[in-house]
Symmetry: C2
DNA sequence: GTCTTTGGAGAACGTTCGTTCTCCGACGTC
DNA sequence: GACGTCGGAGAACGAACGTTCTCCAAAGAC
């Protein structure tokens, strides 16, 4: 990671000749631009529908450089999912940690889903979609998706435990169903209303479950 | 549909020459075999990952005949979704109509999901998956998927109304979240347990909602 | 200045896919 | 048997894709 930080630096645009040669970026910046472009395109259209050429164009780098930093499309998809996982974690934590009351912290999950699904470029869960696209072709990537869902479930179990649920795992499983349902239906309906319905249903379940 | 029933009939296998020429099928049989093969492959791997050649091989017809009966892959995908819609309707109705008590009829939806997701070739909802794969490329097919979901919602609203719910649409929206969540999580987890959890959560919601 | 290295731009390669075309054997009719 | 028709098998075609290679301008070292 901290390799070859000596020589290569960013250059300014060189338009000495007739053509406009593109700016030379350091590895970190190029990686970020590629990942940002891949994230946007993969998430909008699905991983199979986006070619490496489209990512090169959107990132503004050469194919050569793209393959230097990400040796194959599969590597890029993995980086995309890791990035989405970090994004999900930070957005979720931001909402949950804004609350202190255990019951409110659970409901904050659904506030997060409402906010997230309100974004105009919202397209549902990247992990479910990539899982469905690649489960037959790439077991490794499919496993990354299930691992993400395992993490989400563990977080819900912990929140349920903090709320003093008698059966935190069972409560978490019910909440996860509402979450997944909301994520999917918000994407298909193009509306965040299902997330609001999910919050109401979750509140009803909490009322019935917590003492 | 009842066209050209006069001349063409099925032939027996002709192995007069050195090669074994394939049996000539009438249009209806060929269409069924193609649709059956397409359904199996599309549902298992996703529509983008399955080529027309694979469907030809699995259906045992020639490409020429395939394109005579289904002029393009998009036509075949449409037929696939229509077939899945009919399958869903018949499986769902079978479970719901086996009950008479309105509350039981609602819970029968989740019994259906449990049975369906127990099948070894279960891969979740064909409509959601196809929607996610093709929403950017084919708005028409995406609309078929949303139309299917609208129909499911209407059925749940009717069941909620029959059960005497004060707000049948709101109850249906909550039940749909549990259903979609169960459909998705059963597919990712490779287990029908989420459907059972969804039934329990639905029962809790019904207890809290119905008087 | 000259030489070497670097990397951008994009052509090229091999494969796959959706779709169409060609070849030729088998059958119906006379 | 001769001829026309039908359709199966699979080659062919053009586009798109993932990946690699070629060419050449620009920068650095001396």
């Amino acid at each position: 990671m901290a390799k070859s930080a000596t020589a290569s630096e960013a250059k300014t645009a060189t338009k000495t000749g007739g053509k406009t040669s593109r700016t030379r970026l350091d590895d970190e910046t190029a990686q970020q631009q590629i990942l940002s472009a891949a994230d946007r395109l993969f998430y909008e259209r699905g991983v199979q529908a986006v070619g490496m050429d489209a990512i090169r164009d959107a990132a503004g780098v050469s194919l050569k450089r793209l393959y230097q930093l990400f040796p194959s499309k599969e590597h890029l998809i993995e980086a995309y999912l890791r990035h989405r996982d970090a994004l999900w974690q930070s957005m979720l934590d931001e909402h949950v940690d804004a609350r202190t009351d255990p019951r409110e912290r659970i409901l904050a999950v659904f506030d997060f889903l409402r906010d997230w699904s309100s974004q105009p470029d919202y397209r549902g869960c990247a992990f479910i979609r990539t899982f469905n696209e690649l489960r037959a072709a790439s077991p490794h990537i499919a496993e990354m998706a299930t691992h993400h869902k395992d993490g989400f479930r563990a977080e819900l179990v912990e929140l349920a435990r903090e709320a003093g649920a008698d059966a935190p795992e069972q409560l978490a499983d019910q909440l996860i169903l509402l979450s997944e349902g909301a994520i999917t239906r918000c994407a298909m309906a193009g509306s965040s209303a299902p997330a609001t319905r999910a919050r109401e249903a979750a509140a009803a379940i909490l009322d019935a479950t917590l003492n």
